[in-house]
């Protein structure tokens, strides 16, 4: 596992990803081999079909939206950098990172970036606002119990 992945991922790239996302060396190689195992077409990018092939993602009510979050505006393929950038949102916040880089750009896994990510799952038309329809759509998908209390909406 390890040897195959590290020969295809160049060191400079690895360093850049490390700086951008904050993942450790070993985590990046681990995720790279996951990326290549998902990439059935072996062209270095993932398409929506590659994601949909994961069985547990298919039964997830928000599966499509999560997949969409990986692909930038209007594109159908995501490369490894983009993949890592999205995954970086989910990295836990470590205490020693808070005081690290006050002047630089906000780290991808900061609190507000995480909230932004969740917001984008609701906001389908990407107008930076959640309309009532958009909220109802998510409600339907996440319909966890039969009787929904929707009084607070009216």
């Amino acid at each position: 596992m390890g040897s195959r992945a590290s020969t295809l991922l160049r060191d400079e790239e690895l360093e850049e990803i490390k700086k951008e996302t904050g993942f450790s060396h070993s985590q990046i190689t681990c995720l790279y081999s996951r990326f290549t195992s998902l990439d059935k077409g072996e062209n270095g990018t993932l398409s929506r079909e590659d994601f949909q092939r994961i069985p547990e993602l298919a039964i997830n009510p928000l599966g499509d939206r999560i997949i969409n979050a990986f692909f930038p505006e209007g594109e159908d393929q995501v490369n490894f950098r983009g993949f890592m950038r999205t995954l970086a949102h989910f990295r836990p916040i470590e205490d020693n990172e808070k005081s690290k880089d006050v002047n630089g750009p906000e780290p991808l896994n900061s609190r507000s970036n995480k909230l932004h990510f969740a917001f984008r799952l609701y906001d389908l038309d990407k107008d930076d606002k959640i309309s009532r329809d958009e909220l109802l759509q998510v409600l339907e998908k996440v319909d966890v119990e039969q009787k929904m209390s929707i009084q607070f909406l009216h």
């Binding site: 596992m1 590290s6 995720l31 195992s37 993602l57 997830n60 928000l62 999560i66 998510v138 966890v144």
Partner: protein
Amino acid sequence: MFLLLPFDSLIVNLLGISLTVLFTLLLVFIIVPAIFGVSFGIRKLYMKTLLKIFAWATLRMERGAKEKNHQLYKPYTNGIIAKDPTSLEEEIKEIRRSGSSKALDNTPEFELSDIFYFCRKGMETIMDDEVTKRFSAEELESWNLLSRTNYNFQYISLRLTVLWGLGVLIRYCFLLPLRIALEFLSKHVHLMCYRICVRALTAIITYHDRKNRPRNGGICVANHTSPIDVIILASDGYYAMVGQVHGGLMGVIQRAMVKACPHVWFERSEVKDRHLVAKRLTEHVQDKSKLPILIFPEGTCINNTSVMMFKKGSFEIGATVYPVAIKYDPQFGDAFWNSSKYGMVTYLLRMMTSWAIVCSVWYLPPMTREKDEDAVQFANRVKSAIARQGGLVDLLWDGVDH
């Protein structure tokens, strides 16, 4: 200079003693049990000790990692995330079940943050799911002290490094030479066995032109009179054999031989499938480090007065062919095996009770197929060479019915 002399002899003595001890150990603990098929259980003990050491090493690493607050492999995951052991499907069912039961009492209200749960679950499956990961190599949960598998464990403590260093020492300086010695030895033992067989049959073999002996990556072709041909040729060199899988005594011998060297055995049904046979032979031949293949292209035992038409299969492959001619002197014992008349055991008995087996083996210079020759012509060329050398009649008939 003179001062060195007493030390010199001391060192030589020590070396001699240690070598003797090593060889005795080797003999007693490895070779003798191997011959009798008995195991001392040393390997099992070795494995148990290794496992204990690996477990200790992993514990040390986890402790060390905790002190420095590093991320490590978590106990119930095989990946880089800490996952709950239940799957998404089960959790959804669980939520639906619990939701409908308390529908009237305290209706759990929808919150905007409810999607966090599904989002997280989805991300987890993208990173690592049970199904897709079955197709990649297994990740070890504990480190087995080989730096080849160490891609997530960094320097933790001095004691561990020392252990790792010791492991390296043992592996390279002890196990490696031991394994090489055993492999080397096995070749010689192999040869020895054949020579013993030859002695047992009181065979007097004269080898001619030994400089033309077959080399690696070639095919050795000989005329076939009896299974003893095999013994005769094999006692003078290492070959990989090609032949049909026989039942009975021959089968037992064949299975034993396979353990020692890489041979290519075929099932009767496969023999009819020429392409498969040719493919396997080509693969074997192309590997330059493999032993030369020994083939008897007549397909059956001939009574040693003539050479029948060679089957062209072995000549199609295109490797270098080393022809060998074997001629028995019939005065002392007729070595011909008429497989339709006698079984193997009867044949052996006859062999054992004859006066002696005298034969000559000629190693002919290697031949390769020329560009304008097809396999049949090449086969005939080789056949005539063998026939001429052995003083046998060169026949055009086929020994086997199609």
